[in-house]
């Protein structure tokens, strides 16, 4: 069976710059949870940006296939409507755009793609209530402009709340655990665990073993210097805590 996501020998760069991804291969099946770890500047966020089709990056070699189809030419919004979700390492503040208004537009854009009718305001609010209880998120955040003035932790929670609302097939979480206090980390992890599903794959980028105690991954990869240099199961992360990345980078 084809995997949900197949990344093969992916090379990519910031337009006009040098290669940052230097031959990534990664295969993610539906229902799986993958953790990607690795040193600062290794290219983890770059990989997530390229998967989400952020403008400004050039893929110079290799391929990305999603649901069995090559998505090289698919723009960011279409990828999102087809079920790819990126939780940003640095969620963007958008003054003047109300969080609820934005989220409803987004939910409906994705429903339309699936051939489902738009949610009206009251159906939408029902869904919001249901998903909010999943994540222990404060509803006053929904009345404010998207991420504006949210604390670091509130921004991260809002990302996971959006994930819960949009029900993606492939969720890429870029350091969603960074900047969370202990309680928030637990709440967010609980939320993500509730969103684990045989039809949904999760790729989480993290620096910390602690997250993996809460959300147990099926696979752990080390991304260093633009490549996946080692992979293992969840026990591999514990090993890394002790050994660090240096020996892997040298070996690569």
């Amino acid at each position: 069976m084809t995997k949900l996501l197949e990344v093969e020998n992916l090379h990519a760069r910031i337009a006009g710059g040098r290669d940052i991804l230097k031959g990534i291969s990664l295969s993610v099946g539906a229902g799986e949870v993958h953790a990607i770890m690795g040193p600062n500047g290794a290219g983890k966020s770059t990989l997530s940006a390229v998967l989400a089709a952020k403008p400004g990056y050039d893929v110079t070699a290799g391929s990305i296939s999603y649901g069995g189809a090559d998505i090289a030419d698919m723009a960011a919004d279409e990828r999102a409507r087809k079920g790819i979700f990126l939780a940003f390492q640095y969620p963007v503040e958008i003054p003047g755009v109300n969080n609820t208004y934005f989220l409803r537009a987004s939910v409906n854009a994705i429903r339309r793609e699936r051939g489902e009718p738009d949610l009206d305001a009251s159906q939408f609010l029902k869904l919001v209530k249901k998903k909010m209880s999943l994540l222990d998120i404060k509803d006053d955040l929904l009345k404010r402009a998207v991420n504006v003035g949210f604390s670091g932790g509130e921004k991260k929670r809002n990302e996971i709340f959006q994930m819960a609302m949009l029900e993606p097939k492939l969720a890429i979480l870029d350091e969603t655990d960074s900047g969370l206090d202990i309680d928030a980390l637990r709440a967010v992890s609980d939320g993500v665990n509730k969103l684990r599903d045989p039809n949904r794959a999760i790729v989480m980028i993290t620096h910390y073993q602690r997250l993996l105690d809460y959300i147990e991954p099926d696979f752990v990869h080390v991304l260093a210097n633009g490549r996946i240099v080692a992979s293992g199961d969840k026990s591999f992360a514990r090993e890394l805590e002790k050994t660090g990345y240096a020996h892997l980078e040298r070996a690569a």
């Binding site: 960011a76 999102a80 940003f88 503040e93 958008i94 003047g96 755009v97 987004s106 402009a145 998207v146």
Partner: protein
């Protein structure tokens, strides 16, 4: 040749029209050499539409209020207008032409101390003519009113509005200009504010191929307050100018100008904002902000603040910015499934919305302006 325009107009008016026409003839249409008109391209006017009147609709006047057509009042009580229909010193050529040629308009007069809760509404729908509309707005001491104005249709509109606010009077004015793309809309509003008077204008310049909104406010009484909130959302080859002039002629007056523009295609936006504080204008607090977003490489903005300050104790700030839509925000919205036009529309609306959101208007009127902004944001996205 007689210069009378209306069948039964008073002699003093006919005489003044003749003088005004001479003034216009001597000056001619403004050209690129007139600083205040530098960027307003009036070539479209050389092939002039035949003059005529706009279809003018006024809401009903409550008790104690005159809200009527200018032509009606001129026929019935011309003496009430004699002191008011005059050509001010320094009036420009188009204001002179307006006095020479106007055939209608409206008069709003609110008796001292009267507070009107319900807004008064006026709409002018130009039927493809050259229309010189003249309006008078007179609020007695302590009176308050809200006036909502809509300009539609095509042709050339050359409107002049003259407003006088007595001490402590309060005027809220909203204007939605949505004329057809082949029209020229020129508007000159002059306001005189008495002590403690308080004025706010919200002007949306959305339609017309060429438009110009000149608002000259003379703060003549101590403690008067004036605010201009403006937006131009332009696409194609549209061109719009805002020319606010705030004159702090008395002590302790406050003024705010906040004008925002969004420009696509090869549209051209112009902001020529002036704050004048002569000697004696101590305690002035004046702020001026013009912010612009260019959506395309062919769009253009000229923004020129001009401050002339001769008093000592003055707080004055001004800022002007020209930028683009935030790429990171666009990507964020797209990464949540919104197609680029929808994402752009959201950001355009978000940028311009506070012009209307922050306006001191009753909710239904504010909402109707919000809808207009939203509609035009969508056409630009």
């Amino acid at each position: 040749m007689s210069a009378a325009v209306l069948a039964a107009e008073p002699l003093w008016l006919t005489a003044r029209r003749a003088v005004a026409m001479d003034r216009f003839a001597a000056r001619g249409l403004p050209t690129a050499k007139d600083e205040a008109w530098r960027f307003t391209n009036l070539h479209a006017l050389t092939a002039r539409a035949p003059s005529g009147t706009a279809r003018l609709t006024l809401s009903a006047a409550p008790e104690g209020v005159t809200f009527t057509r200018l032509s009606t009042l001129l026929a019935q009580a011309p003496e009430r207008l004699e002191a008011l229909l005059a050509l001010p010193e320094g009036a420009d050529a188009l204001s002179a032409l307006n006095l020479a040629m106007f055939s209608d308009g409206y008069v709003l007069e609110v008796a001292p101390g009267l507070h009107l809760d319900a807004p008064l509404e006026v709409s002018h729908d130009n039927q493809g003519r050259a229309v010189h509309m003249r309006a008078l707005v007179l609020l007695g001491e302590g009176a308050s009113a809200t006036l909502v104005e809509r300009a539609n249709g095509s042709g050339w509109s050359n409107n002049v509005t003259h407003a006088v606010l007595g001490a402590g009077a309060r005027l809220r004015h909203a204007k939605l200009q949505a004329q057809a793309a082949d029209s020229v809309h020129l508007s000159a509003m002059t306001l005189t504010l008495g002590a403690g008077a308080d004025h706010e204008s919200v002007i949306l310049a959305l339609g017309a191929g060429v438009s110009r909104e000149a608002v000259t406010t003379a703060l003549t009484g101590e403690g008067a307050t004036a605010s201009l909130r403006g937006a131009y959302l332009l696409g194609g080859k549209q061109q719009a100018s805002f020319v606010p002039e705030l004159l702090h002629l008395a002590r302790n007056c406050t003024s705010r100008q906040l004008v925002k523009g969004v420009l696509g295609g090869t549209a051209h936006g112009v902001f020529l904002g002036h704050i004048g504080v002569p000697e004696g204008g101590d305690g002035t607090n004046a702020g001026q902000t013009n912010r612009n977003i260019l959506l395309s490489p062919g769009a253009r903005v000229d923004t020129r603040p001009r401050l002339e300050i001769l008093a000592d104790d003055v707080k004055c700030s001004h800022s002007a910015t020209v930028g683009a839509l935030d790429e990171t925000a666009l990507f964020y919205l797209q990464s949540r499934g919104l197609a680029p036009p929808q994402a752009r529309r959201m950001l355009i609306e978000a940028f311009a919305a506070d012009i209307v959101d922050g306006a001191d208007l009753p909710a239904p009127q504010r909402e109707s302006l919000q809808q207009a902004l939203s509609f035009w944001a969508e056409t630009l996205a």
